[in-house]
Structures are given as structure tokens and as C-alpha cells.
């Protein structure tokens, strides 16, 4: 059989017309998706990319102290550096002082080691009176910290343009003089505690939400329309109320002299002067967070349960199963997509919460997000806040990946 090209009606080979038509379709599809893609690019990818960038970007100080860092390349980090380093420092600081731009390195170096703020300020004030030569001596005379190697080592550690030091700080590690990774002093190891505490709170809040929401959703899904609509309003109304209003209401309810404690005393479960502490501890955090995140578990579960026909349970029972067996073998597996959606939603939200735990959790209510907020607002160490934010993002993505492996992301249904 000879290979003849099939021609379409206007004489062009069919293959070509087909390709042209497919290309047109593809273009149409791309144009349809383009607005959403642009939206995601601008609203998600750029900001997250900027955050990642900020957490490793350390070029500002490298640019501002070039001579110092160049001279430090020859220094091995032990004891004190020699005269060339101090001379480089003198030249750099004089230049910065002339242009009045030394302010930025004060904050940056102070994050590296406390005490740099007053050290640099005092040095800059006195630097115009320095004489030629013998810089090391003059520096140490101005402030004794220039003779303490920890400060010089901290300065050296600020040299690289790109650094992952902030990520190390997020797990309580730092660089020592040989660029080895060591733990920070024991009384400053706060971040590991916060990570564990955050994950702990998020996990248990998810569990409590699940345990409470399952029966509620089942009830909502199986009651006749009239009643289930009324009950649904009970779920939705708090959902639409402001978060702060709900948290403040819990503060009023849970306080020592509040109504819940009054009820407990009236029922005789506790003496009047020995009232249980329901707030400013983990109890307060769990109670308030569970109530606030409950609708996020109820709604996905409800919408999945609504699609389960009641005849399935009846069929199970008619085949000889006890109600419990029918539930475990038939009903529960069918609701797993809803459980997956609800748990994932609640967990991810709970990991990022910080207002509610801060208000009702007392000392135990300090979570990793509080630290991120502190570094954004108070200490202005945005590089560190970005690093913590990125670590949180990676953690959540990891959990999502694990969930996908275990349950399968296609198994999520919101209804």
C-alpha cells in the first residue's frame, strides 16, 4: 500500500489541519487558565518567593563592610584578628559615618550578638578622633568588646552574602568560629520547644474537633430538613461571628469567678475557694480553639455524610451485621474523604493560630506564630521571621505529602 497523504476538503494534509486545530484549542485553554494562573503567581508565588529570598539574603552588610570582610578572609577565627582587620574596619566605618548610613548595620549586627548596638554607636561617635595606624589598640581602648573574640567571630559570621544562619537559629543552632554548627546556650533554646508545642496543640485540637464534630455532622445529615436547618444555624452563627469576639467570650466564661466555675461549685464538684483553673493554661487554649475551629470540621463531614444513602446502613443490617459492624464496615469508610478534608483544614489552621492561645493560654499559649509576630513587629528581624515562616510552610507541605501517601489526595471531598 502506498503511503498517500489524506487530504482535507481544501487541499491541506489532514495531519496539518489537525495539528492547527489542536494548537488553537490549546491556546484557548491557556487563555482561559491565564487569569487564575496570574493571580496565583502574584498573590502566592511572588510573596512566598520574596519571603524565602529574604530569609537567606545577607548582602546588605557584605556590601557595607567590604574592606573588613576582605581582611578577615585571612583570619582563622581563633583569638583576635590582626591589625589589617581593624584597619579595614576603621576605613569602612569612617565611610559609613560620612554618608550617615551606619544605622543599618547596627540592627543587623545586634541580631548576630547582643551588645553590638551600643558598641557600634560608641565607636562611630569616637572614630573621627582616631589617629593613623595602630588601629587595633585604639579600637580596644574605645570599647573593650573589640578585644573580645566572640564579637569579632560574630562579625566574621556576618560576612557571607547568602546564609542559612537564620534557619539554624530556628532550630536553636548557630555557627561557631570554625563555621561548625553548635547548639546555642541552654537557657536560650526556645524554638524547639515552641515547634513541639505548636504541633502538639494543633494535633490535639484536630482530634478533639473530630471527636465532637462526627456525631454533630451525622445528626445534621440524618435529621429531617426542618430540624437539621435549625441546628445548622447553631453551627454557622458562631462561625460568622468575629474571632476576637468569640475568644473574649471564652475569657469571660472560663475565668475563675465566671459562670462555668460557678456552675461547677454549685454542682458540688469543687469547693468555692478551690475553683479549678480553666484559663491561662492548656485547658483554655484547647477549649477555645476547638470551639472556634469546629465548624471547619462539621461542614466537610456534613456535606459528605449527606451523600451517603440511608439505605446502605439498612442493607448492612439486613445482611446480618450489628449496627456497630455496619457502621465500621460501611458508613465510616465512606466518610473518610470528609474526615480527610476536615482534619487537614483544621490542622493547618490550628498551626497558624496565635491570637487565641495568646489571650487564653497564658504562659503555655506562646506558639511559633507569636515568635514570628514578635520578630516582625518588635525586633524587626524580618530575615528570621521569614525563615520561621518558610520552615512552617515546609512543615505543612510535608504533612500534606504524608497525608497524600497515606490516604490519597484524590480522596478529599468537600461534598
Amino acid at each position: 500500500m502506498s503511503k498517500e497523504q489524506i487530504l482535507s476538503s481544501d487541499g491541506i494534509p489532514l495531519e496539518e489541519s489537525l495539528k492547527k486545530a489542536e494548537r488553537k484549542n490549546k491556546l484557548k485553554a491557556v487563555l482561559l487558565v491565564a487569569p487564575l494562573f496570574l493571580f496565583i503567581l502574584i498573590v502566592y508565588i511572588f510573596p512566598i518567593g520574596d519571603m524565602l529570598f529574604r530569609s537567606v539574603d545577607d548582602r546588605m552588610i557584605t556590601k557595607m563592610l567590604p574592606k573588613t570582610f576582605k581582611a578577615m578572609e585571612k583570619w582563622d577565627g581563633s583569638e583576635l584578628p590582626d591589625e589589617p582587620v581593624y584597619q579595614g574596619l576603621y576605613e569602612d566605618l569612617t565611610f559609613l559615618k560620612k554618608n550617615k548610613t551606619y544605622g543599618k548595620i547596627i540592627a543587623r549586627l545586634n541580631y548576630e550578638k547582643s551588645g553590638f548596638s551600643s558598641l557600634i554607636k560608641k565607636t562611630v561617635r569616637k572614630i573621627s578622633k582616631f589617629e593613623e595606624g595602630n588601629y587595633k589598640e585604639q579600637f580596644i581602648k574605645v570599647h573593650k568588646r573589640w578585644g573580645q573574640s566572640e564579637y569579632l567571630v560574630a562579625l566574621k559570621n556576618a560576612a557571607p552574602k547568602w546564609t542559612y544562619a537564620k534557619y539554624l537559629k530556628g532550630i536553636d543552632r548557630k555557627f561557631d568560629q570554625d563555621r561548625n554548627i553548635i547548639q546555642v546556650p541552654e537557657d536560650r533554646r526556645i524554638h524547639k520547644i515552641l515547634w513541639i508545642r505548636t504541633l502538639n496543640v494543633a494535633f490535639w485540637v484536630t482530634v478533639f474537633c473530630f471527636v465532637l464534630a462526627y456525631p454533630i455532622s451525622h445528626l445534621l445529615a440524618t435529621l429531617p430538613m426542618k430540624y437539621s436547618n435549625l441546628l445548622m444555624i447553631c453551627v454557622l452563627l458562631p462561625f460568622w461571628t468575629s474571632l476576637l469576639v468569640r475568644t473574649s467570650s471564652w475569657m469571660v466564661l472560663l475565668q475563675q469567678q465566671g459562670p462555668i466555675n460557678d456552675l461547677i461549685v454549685w454542682l458540688g464538684l469543687a469547693a468555692n475557694d478551690n475553683r479549678p483553673e480553666l484559663m491561662y493554661n492548656v485547658i483554655g487554649t484547647f477549649v477555645a480553639m476547638t470551639q472556634i475551629l469546629l465548624p471547619f470540621m462539621v461542614l466537610p463531614l456534613y456535606s459528605v455524610m449527606k451523600t451517603i444513602s440511608p439505605s446502605l446502613m439498612r442493607a448492612g443490617k439486613s445482611l446480618g451485621g450489628t449496627p456497630l459492624t455496619s457502621f465500621v464496615k460501611i458508613y465510616f469508610p465512606l466518610t473518610i474523604p470528609g474526615i480527610g478534608a476536615g482534619c487537614l483544614l483544621v490542622f493547618i489552621l490550628a498551626i497558624g493560630y496565635y491570637i487565641t492561645p495568646a489571650l487564653v493560654g497564658g504562659a503555655s499559649g506562646s506558639l511559633i506564630s507569636n515568635t514570628i509576630a514578635y520578630h516582625m513587629k518588635s525586633s524587626l528581624d524580618w530575615a528570621f521571621a521569614s525563615a520561621l515562616g518558610t520552615m512552617l510552610l515546609v512543615g505543612v507541605l510535608t504533612i500534606y505529602w504524608i497525608y497524600n501517601k497515606l490516604v490519597g489526595i484524590d480522596n478529599i471531598k468537600l461534598g
Binding site: 550617615k100 548610613t101 551606619y102 544605622g103 543599618k104 547596627i106 540592627a107 545586634n110 541580631y111 547582643s114 551588645g115 553590638f116 548596638s117 551600643s118 554607636k121 537557657d187 536560650r188 533554646r189 526556645i190 520547644i193 515552641l194 508545642r197 475565668q255 475563675q256 469567678q257 465566671g258 484559663m279 491561662y280 495568646a358 497564658g362 504562659a363 506562646s366 515568635t371 514578635y374 516582625m376 513587629k377 518588635s378 525586633s379 524587626l380 528581624d381
Partner: protein, 373 residues
Amino acid sequence: MKKLSKLLLALSFVLSVTTSAFAVTVVSWGGAYTESQKLGYGDPTAAKLGIPVNWVDYTGGLSEIKAQKEAGKITWDIIDVYAKDTIIGCDEGIFVEFDFDKDFAPAPDGTPASQDFFTGMPSKCAVGNILYSWNYAYNDSTIGDTKPSKLKDFFDTKKFPGKRAVYKNAMSNLEIAITADGVNPGKGSDLTYRKLAADGGIDRAMAMFQKLCTDPNGGCVFWNAGAQPPELLANGEVVMATGWNGRFFNAQMEGTPLVQVWDGQILDYEYFAMVKGGPGDADGSAMKVLREMTSSEGLAGSAKYIAYAPWRKSSIAVMEAGEPWFKDGKTNMVPHMPTAPANTKRYILMNPDFWADNQDEINEKWEAMKAGL
């Protein structure tokens, strides 16, 4: 008629845009404090100069203004800030540096501004606003028969059992802890900060709180908003609370039976700073507003609404001449001032440089201590 109404609508729109474009934005802490500023010198200044003044709330720190600067669109003119933030902001070039005697009004008797303010400014970018106090208070109806009167009573859980409310960050807590542990402030509170900066000083101060918070007869509740301490005292959640004296005073005026203890109070300062490149910077309207608000009568005005001491010595004289000064027309305000002689028998002067240097490291240790409670 339709044409006229359209014209009027367009005109009013144009007017509203232009007037709001020339308003000066002042940013402060909110609540009773901003109320006192707005009514005390904000509105009178706006009326006198014909420049509208907008008030915006914030929760401290320089993050918003830094973000505005990076975005290239600054919307704030004047900010009410802590001392350490004026130092940080001045270093980073965020704030305008003042020529003090030229930019600010002299006292009515001609004393130049720099001599009329109680102390020098921490940086060139700051103008003092009020002096306030971190002290502590107790609820007279829940404390029992013995009443606390000294700073160390705050930590004495045997004589005064019950929970205490404590500020959530380390600032102000370390000073009172080390003072209650027996270190007297000394001249300019030099000794307090020297002992804190020495080896083991911070651990010594934090140990006091560790003991207080883990004591079964004691216990700590951490507050972060100024309105919380009087609230916690009023509803009986705590028996003693540290807090800002002005908030305690306002609660007292509203009828809560609070009593303030001034022994070992920390005198702290609040400043105004002006943002470089703010909307009111170019035409000088922000500077005019700031100058008027920090004049002798201006600063004295806020004391009508809240018990914080105006920074100028001449303002105190204005208040004394006009007693009773409080807005209810019945209360004398000078005795309630943090700077009144009866209240300053033993006080600590807050040191902003210490905190600018060490706040990150100290806060990490403080959080680690809280985590172990």
C-alpha cells in the same frame, strides 16, 4: 435641579478628597490613652491650626512604618513610640532629626524647649510626650486585711496569697524583680541596670519570677494589652497586677476599688517621632501640628483625661494653676502624676539603651523560662 445636585456631589467629593489629603495622621496606642491625646491636644490643635488630624491605632514596634518605607508609600506622619524605637528608627533613617530649640515652642516664660523638658531625649529624632509609670495595683475588696505597700510585697506569696498579673515581655519585669531582690536603683537607676548587665544578673531577676509563677500560693497571668490589668483585678482573677498607672487611674475613676502602689515604680517615657517622607512632611503641616501638640498648654491638655505626666515642667505649672484639672472638674491631677513627689520616693528610670542592646537575647531567655513554668 438634577444638574445642580450633580455639581454639588462632585464638589463635595473634591472637597473631601482635598481635605483628607492635607490631614496629618498621628499613630498611637489606642484605648484610653489615644482618647486622652485626641481630646487633650489633638482636637484643640486641629481647631487652632485648621489642619485636620487623623488618629490611627497600632500595637507598637516599627514594622508597619518600615513596611511603608520599603513599599515607597508612607501614610503615617507622627508616631507615638517607645524610647528604644526612637533610637532604632533614628539609626535606620526612618525618622526626622529635630533641631530641638528651633522646632519646638519655648515655655510661656521664654525658656527654650530643650530646658523645659524634664530630661534629655534619647535620640535626635524624639520629642518627649508623657512620662508614665509601670507600677502595680491591688483590688482593695479582694486583698484581705493587710495591704501591700512595698515592691517586695508583690513577690510575697505568704503574706498575700493569690495570682499576679505580669507583663508578657521581659521589659519592666526584670527591673522590678532585681529591685525587689534588694538592689536599690541608685543615681539615674545606674545600679539596677549595672546589676542586670553583670554576669548572672538576668538569671537572678528571672529566678524571682520563676519562684512567683510556680508557687502554689501564687501564680502568674501574663497580660499584653493595657486594658487587661485593671480588668483582671476587677473580676478577681488576680490579687495584684503590674500595669500602667494611667489605666489604673481611669479604672479608679470608673469606680473599681483599686489602690496603686508607687514604691519601686518604673518611670518610662513616651515620645513622638516624625516620619521622614510622610504626607505631612513636605508641606510642613506635620511639623506645625507636632509643635502645637507639644507646647506647654498642649501637653498639659492630655492630663485632663488620663493620669500621665506631661513632659514639660511648664505644663505642670499650667496644671497647678488650673486645678482641679481632671475632666470631671472635681479631681486634682497633680498628686496622681507619676512624677509627684509622694510617688517618687523610690523609682527606677527605664533605660532604653539597655533594652535596645539586649532585648532579643533577653526575650529568648524569658520565653524559655515561661516555657518551663
